[in-house]
């Protein structure tokens, strides 16, 4: 469990291939975490090697965000391996392309099933486990895209808006149980998911997100913005008139 100085022993990463998720786990392992479960789709055995080199025991589990009926089993298998789950990082998601979603509404609905629906079942099952433990933090990778949904990526943004609201509500539901939810709202993250895109202002990196998450865990934060000044920026953004907001290019 989280010790007096804020280090943790065990981490479950839902979305075991997520670049941000792996950066967070690596950071926690460097700070002392020793048991890691990577839950990912398909054969993901190779991704744990680096963490093993850092001294962690790693279990890789099959995890499909689109099959909510399997999520309870994933959380149970993770707990069987790691004991108490000190941190659960829910990092899975797909970005997709807004124009393609508009051309193929079925694919848009499917992305919603991953980016929102999958988090609802996985998050609730993880929260149930944390509540029983009486401790632990569910770290939910939201995005500034969900803080105020923009014309240019509103399918993805709507899922993140839903996820953000879900995570806040879940955090409130866990209040007083010892378990908690930490909502992480990065801006544009330079990495594999955004390869080929021109970085937005105040772009960040998976490592910077990992640092912010580690700091937030130590401090027991409920919300973490990366970079931190996006909190102030979005206070203004939320107040912009619709006519201006719908023209925000990206």
């Amino acid at each position: 469990m989280k010790n007096a100085l804020g280090s943790v022993d065990s981490v479950l990463l839902l979305g075991g291939r997520s670049e941000i998720g792996l950066a967070v786990v690596e950071r926690l392992v460097r700070d002392g975490a020793r048991r890691v479960v990577l839950a990912a789709r398909g054969d993901a055995a190779a991704i744990g090697v680096r963490l093993k080199d850092l001294g962690a025991e790693v279990l890789v589990l099959d995890f499909d965000a689109e099959r909510p009926e399997t999520h309870e089993r994933v959380v149970a298998a993770a707990a069987e391996f790691a004991g108490d789950l000190d941190v659960v990082v829910a990092a899975f998601g797909v970005l997709g392309d807004q124009a393609a979603y508009e051309a193929d509404p079925v694919s848009a609905a499917r992305s919603m099933a991953v980016n929102l629906g999958g988090h609802v079942s996985a998050g609730l099952f993880a929260a149930r486990r944390l509540r029983e433990q009486g401790h632990g933090t569910l770290v939910v990778l939201s995005s500034v895209a969900g803080v105020r949904v923009r014309r240019v990526n509103f399918v993805y943004g709507a899922a993140k808006a839903g996820l953000d609201g879900f995570a806040q509500g879940l955090g409130d539901a866990l209040h007083g149980s010892g378990a908690r939810v930490m909502v992480v709202r990065p801006g544009f993250v330079i990495g594999r998911m955004t390869a080929g895109m021109r970085p937005a202002p105040m772009a960040t990196t998976p490592e910077a997100v990992a640092d912010a998450v580690a700091g937030g865990l130590r401090a027991g934060a409920e919300t973490v913005w990366v970079p931190g000044r996006l909190r102030a920026v979005f206070t203004v953004m939320r107040a912009l008139p619709r006519a201006v907001w719908r023209r925000v290019p990206r």
């Binding site: 010790n3 007096a4 100085l5 022993d9 020793r34 433990q133 009486g134 401790h135 007083g176 010892g178």
Partner: protein, 441 residues
């Protein structure tokens, strides 16, 4: 659910709190243990998470009915485990008996003293609490009571076993006859660490109780300068005529304010305190009451709150004799880093007990209090853990709130043996604590 912490006030966790009055009620709680198990909690003086059990049951034993008896021929006291050493001193000192071992506070229960195998300023002569035990009554996971004696494996798994073998309900231990309730104390100052170690080694066996307080913020040639305090129970003829030799009435306690700003104890205030303490400690020989000699901090109720809302960690380790270089390395690193430790205490340990997870071993033990929040503290203490383990030493579990599980088998080589005995006494892991989970005990 109630959120509990240890004395260091770090890492709170919620548990259901039960306060049984009788052994029968205690047995009923064990029989109906929840899936997350249960752990006994006395007066909450363990610094870390030893008496916490997130999501489970914590059994407050301090309010259980108090029973004690004294055999005036042998000085053997039998006491219920929820009684505090404070209660026992109030009863025993006027009769001319003193507890065999007292830690730096008398507000610990008998059960806690057994579970942590506590030590005091007389360790170099008298070893730890477990060495004085004649028998224990242990309520095990199956709900039955067992009278254990020092020949039993379960006895030495329980002494120092951090409450994980069962609930101690009663203990018998040999007390020490005293002629008075006062201490004859002498104070000496040393100029640096070498002289501290040298003077302690040369003079320790002349006194029953010895300890050194180190000014950790002194640097350069003064690094490790200390105030040595050595004492013995005063004899009747040392007291002024007319004094009641066995009067024992510790002064009423002050209360620390309910809230203190974080950072109140910073480099400046602690340095000032340390300098003042060193300066005021004139070399002298005095007669002192038991309480100020053994338990100076007990005068301020809740002194742990002074560290602010983030709390503090106490780091205590021991290294064997011959490993003074490791001790020196730690002290110089702390001094160089300017680590703020309000009270840093050095003590020479004598022989340990056969307690499988007991902390003391013959060597030097250093204890420091460090407020949480200092950048790099986790890494620094982890480095110390490694030095200590490499030197054949260990960290004290009753103080620990942050160690990693992997060094535990190195520091406590009898851990496998302890685990085996524990597993047969408690196969379903009914007795669980946050400490046990964190360290995979």
């Amino acid at each position: 659910m109630t959120f509990l912490t240890g004395w260091g006030r770090t890492a709170p966790s919620p548990a259901t709190l039960a306060a049984p009055r009788t052994t029968a009620e205690l047995a009923a709680l064990v029989a109906a243990a929840p899936p997350r198990g249960l752990i006994a909690r006395g007066l909450g003086r363990s610094y870390g998470d030893a008496a916490q059990n997130a999501g489970g049951l914590v059994v407050d034993v301090a309010g259980m009915e108090a029973r004690w008896s004294l055999d005036p021929e042998t000085g053997v006291v039998t006491a219920s485990a929820g009684m505090s050493l404070h209660d026992l001193m109030l009863a025993l000192v006027p009769l001319g008996w003193f507890v065999p071992v007292t830690p730096g506070t008398r507000h610990v229960t008998v059960g806690g003293a057994v579970a942590a195998d506590v030590h005091g300023k007389n360790h170099h002569v008298d070893s730890s609490f477990g060495a004085h035990l004649r028998s224990l009554t242990l309520l095990t996971a199956d709900g039955t009571g067992h009278l254990l004696r020092p020949g039993d494996d379960l006895f030495w798994a329980t002494v120092g076993g951090m409450g994980l073998t069962g609930l101690v309900t009663e203990a018998s231990f040999a007390c020490v006859p005293v002629e008075t309730s006062r201490m004859s104390v002498d104070v000496e100052r040393t100029r640096d660490l070498d002289q501290t170690l040298e003077r302690m080694t040369a003079t320790d066996d002349r006194h029953r109780y010895t300890v050194a307080w180190i000014d950790l913020l002194a640097r350069g040639p003064r690094m490790g300068r200390s105030v040595l305090t050595r004492g013995d129970h005063a004899r009747r003829e040392e007291l002024p005529r007319g004094a009641d030799p066995l009067a024992f009435a510790p002064a009423a306690r002050l209360s620390a304010p309910p809230w203190a700003p974080g950072g109140l104890l910073n480099g400046l205030t602690v340095r000032a305190f340390n300098q003042a303490w060193y300066a005021k400690s004139r070399e002298r020989r005095v007669i002192q009451d038991i309480a100020p000699f053994f338990h100076p901090l007990d005068f301020v109720d809740g002194w742990n709150r002074v560290y602010g809302s983030r709390g503090f960690v106490q780091y205590q380790f021991v290294v064997p004799f011959g490993e003074e270089a490791t001790l020196r390395r730690v002290v110089s690193r702390l001094s160089a880093e300017g680590v703020v430790s309000f009270l840093t205490v050095l003590k020479r340990f004598g022989a340990g007990t056969p307690g499988m997870l007991s902390f003391p071993l013959p060597g030097w033990t250093l204890a420091l209090d460090i407020p949480v929040g200092r950048a790099g503290l986790a890494g620094l203490l982890r480095e110390f853990d490694e030095w200590v383990a490499e030197a054949g030493g260990r960290v004290y579990l009753a103080k620990d709130a942050r160690m990693r599980a992997e060094l535990l088998p190195v520091m406590y080589p009898r851990l496998p043996e302890w685990r085996k005995i524990r597993e047969s006494a408690d196969p379903g892991e009914v007795f669980r604590s946050d400490l046990a989970r964190r360290l995979s005990l």
